[in-house]
């Protein structure tokens, strides 16, 4: 008897290299996929989607996706939308910063303790979307 493969939420950070916010998106993603919900979530490399890797395109079309973007360019969300992925939610780190104005992240290479706190708050938002959709 075959068991239908359970779909996982795919968390996709922009991983921007220009600002600390890009690093925070990566950290938030790993907090979810490696610490909080390792059995229910997975991630992809956004550049694989950008170069239209077939396996990656199929993955975002077959699984619910949550994007985590660092800046207004919203590369993660736009790349998923462009490839007609199942976009179920989008987190913007700029919103998380607006909600937590006292937290000041460090830099791209070291987001610092406040950056880590912002990443955890972004991860909580991801969890809420995963919870709402399952």
């Amino acid at each position: 008897m075959s068991e239908k493969k359970r779909s996982k939420h795919i968390i996709i950070p922009c991983s921007g290299i220009g600002k600390a916010l890009g690093t925070i998106t990566r950290r938030a993603t790993y907090i979810v996929t490696e610490e909080l919900l390792p059995n229910d979530t997975d991630s992809i490399c956004l550049p694989l989607l950008t170069i239209e890797d077939e396996e990656t395109v199929q993955k975002i079309r077959q699984n619910p996706c949550i994007t985590v973007d660092g800046c207004v360019a919203q590369c993660a969300q736009k790349n998923v939308a462009h490839h007609r992925g199942k976009l179920q939610g989008s987190i913007k780190i700029l919103d998380v910063i607006k909600e937590n104005p006292k937290l000041k992240p460090g830099n791209v290479l070291d987001i610092g303790p406040d950056g880590e706190k912002l990443a955890r708050k972004a991860a909580e938002k991801v969890l809420k979307i995963v919870g709402d959709k399952t």
């Binding site: 890009g22 550049p47 950008t50």
Partner: protein, 114 residues
């Protein structure tokens, strides 16, 4: 993480290089897509899927001037594979330094040819 950290560190002490977020080739406008066409590019890829190198070719319609692949450096120089995706551990520092040295050399070579 190694490609990311090595690239950023190079940017912090060389004032003749810039970087771009690869996904911006698709998410951005023509200006971003022309970036690769109008500037000599050195790509730094983590694995042999070589997204950065392929992205420059796909969106910039040019070959990168040089393509650096971290997994090849690991194999060639017998470095251990980094364990963390979120941070550079002390045992990864040699690999980061080696990658920075290679990026620096490649930038110098490209500048000499200009």
């Amino acid at each position: 993480m190694v490609s990311r950290v090595a690239t950023r560190r190079i940017l912090e002490y060389r004032d003749d290089v810039v970087t771009i977020c690869l996904p911006l080739f698709l998410a951005g406008g023509q200006e971003e897509r022309d970036f690769a066409k109008n500037n000599p590019c050195i790509t730094v890829d983590g694995c042999d899927k070589m997204c950065a190198s392929k992205g420059v070719e796909m969106y910039g319609k040019v070959h990168p001037k040089s393509s650096i692949v971290i997994s090849e450096i690991i194999k060639k120089e017998k470095h251990s594979r980094p364990k963390s995706k979120s941070r550079i551990e002390p045992e990864d520092e040699n690999l980061v330094q080696e990658t920075m040295k290679i990026i620096n050399e490649e930038v110098d070579k490209v500048k000499e040819k200009e």
